[in-house]
């Protein structure tokens, strides 16, 4: 872990908007859902840092650090979630970021528990409602830093 002294999770009150990094990992062109989620989160008062397609775990970690993000949201539709999602969680841990990872897209039911055990905060699928999307992101952040 590369700890930086003096940087702990922010104890934000409700005054400050949550900052969310949204991205797609690797070669997966399904960005429609991610765009929907971006608007949903914005309408819920969050600041969405939209990275879009073809990101790597490194580029996402770098963006999180620079943007001081509270949570990472990934959208996955290319059946790569069992490798990519745990890899993202691990990259976040290695960087000592302490931000939760929420994912959505196409994840078969039997894979959900595997991902949760790997440290993913929440998994949402097709048809997830606006309320569910917002609640999942808020809960992930609250769970990570109960101070909020």
């Amino acid at each position: 872990m590369s700890e930086t002294p003096g940087i702990s999770p922010l104890s934000a009150d409700d005054q400050e908007p949550l900052r969310v990094v949204l991205a797609k990992l690797g070669f997966d062109g399904h960005d429609r859902g991610l765009k929907v989620v971006a608007r949903t989160l914005r309408d819920a008062g969050m600041e969405v840092i939209y990275l879009g397609l073809r990101q790597t775990t490194d580029s996402i970690v770098a963006a999180c650090e620079q943007e001081d993000a509270d949570v990472i949201g990934l959208s996955m539709h290319n059946a790569g979630h069992l490798t990519l999602a745990p890899r993202m969680v691990q990259a976040v841990e290695e960087a000592g970021l302490g931000v939760p990872v929420v994912i959505g897209g196409i994840v078969p039911a039997e894979d959900v528990t595997v991902l949760i055990e790997a440290g993913v905060a929440a998994v949402l699928g097709p048809g997830a409602s606006t309320e569910e999307v917002v609640a999942a992101v808020r809960a992930a952040v609250a769970h990570q830093s109960p101070a909020r």
Partner: protein, 319 residues
């Protein structure tokens, strides 16, 4: 936050620690309890970086240009501050500038997205502080991207050493409302999307306007770019460097920065006064004045006059 801890954060930021720099920026962005200390600490070391503002109509190509500029600058640690409007209804924002930059910049470029967050005039103080922090952390150049739609945004972009105004072919109609404002602040014009028809026409329009309007010994050059292809970006960087050396030689740099800090202090006073104004209206004397206003015994103007006197005496007592 304690002073040693703050020193440590700055030290980390200076050695390129992205998290430390990211956190310092959050503190000034929130203008929280630590912000004054952070700003103060940053101000000690600031003043080294070239500050470049990039503004223009929505979608004109500012982010693409900004990312390319950071790349061709050849600088070791360029920084980009990309500002987007918050939704006035929900306070949320989609900050989508990185998507146009990421592919072009190297990993040593520090990019921070910032939402306007609606607080009146807040942007006017948060942005100079953010630039100050990036500068003190050793980033250079610091490029600030803002949408040139309203007066505040233009003013923010203009709070730079060099202001680049981006237009596109057929731009005249798109930014009609704020044309004069944009023209006034431009040190350099870019006609982007030069791959589209009539880029030359746009250049001609600008030339004509400059013929009519320009004052002083710097005439804003006009550069044609196709940012998506990287065409013209080298020329743009050369013009920026030419402007930088003009600023140095003419003494204009010192004057500009001096003006900038004056208006920053003025903005802060204004914000502070507004805060106090709201507080004073709610306190006892304010309330009784407001009651009289409601009864039509006192006009709002007279009430304001009366309350203002309690804030700032006309003849300040000698200390």
């Amino acid at each position: 936050m304690s002073a040693p801890l703050l020193d440590e954060l700055f030290e980390s930021a200076r050695t390129g620690n992205r998290r430390a720099l990211g956190r310092l920026l959050t503190m000034v962005e929130r203008q929280d309890d630590n912000a004054v200390m952070v700003s103060e600490r940053a101000h000690r070391d600031a003043g080294q970086a070239r500050v470049i503002g990039v503004t223009g109509a929505p979608g004109s190509g500012k982010s693409t240009i900004t990312g390319r500029l950071a790349a061709v600058s050849g600088a070791a640690r360029p920084a980009i501050l990309a500002i987007d409007p918050s939704s006035p209804l929900t306070g949320g924002a989609i900050l989508g500038d990185r998507i146009r930059m990421d592919n072009n910049v190297s990993s040593s470029t520090f990019i921070r997205s910032m939402a306007t967050r609606g607080h009146a005039g807040g942007l006017a103080v948060a942005v100079p502080d953010a630039v100050r922090v990036l500068d003190a952390a050793g980033c250079d150049p610091v490029i600030v991207e803002t949408v040139g739609v309203g007066q505040v945004e233009v003013t923010v972009a203009a709070a730079a050493d060099t202001t680049v105004v981006v237009v596109t072919p057929g731009w005249g109609d798109a930014v009609q409302a704020n044309k004069a404002g944009l023209l006034e602040v431009a040190d350099i014009f870019v006609v982007n999307k030069a791959d589209r028809p009539d880029a030359r026409g746009a250049r001609r329009d600008l030339e004509l306007m400059l013929d009519l309007g320009h004052r002083g010994d710097w005439r804003a050059p006009i550069v044609l770019t196709t940012a998506t292809e990287g065409e013209g970006i080298d020329d743009l960087w050369s013009e920026i460097e030419r402007h930088t050396s003009y600023l140095h030689h003419s003494g204009e740099l010192i004057r500009r920065r001096c003006r900038r800090r004056r208006s920053e202090v003025a903005d802060r006073i204004e914000l502070g006064l507004r805060d106090r104004a709201l507080r004073i209206i709610d306190d006892q004397s304010g309330e009784s004045a407001m009651v009289r206003v409601e009864r039509h015994e006192l006009s709002p103007a007279a009430a304001a006059e009366q309350l203002l006197a309690t804030l700032i005496p006309d003849n300040p007592p000698e200390e």
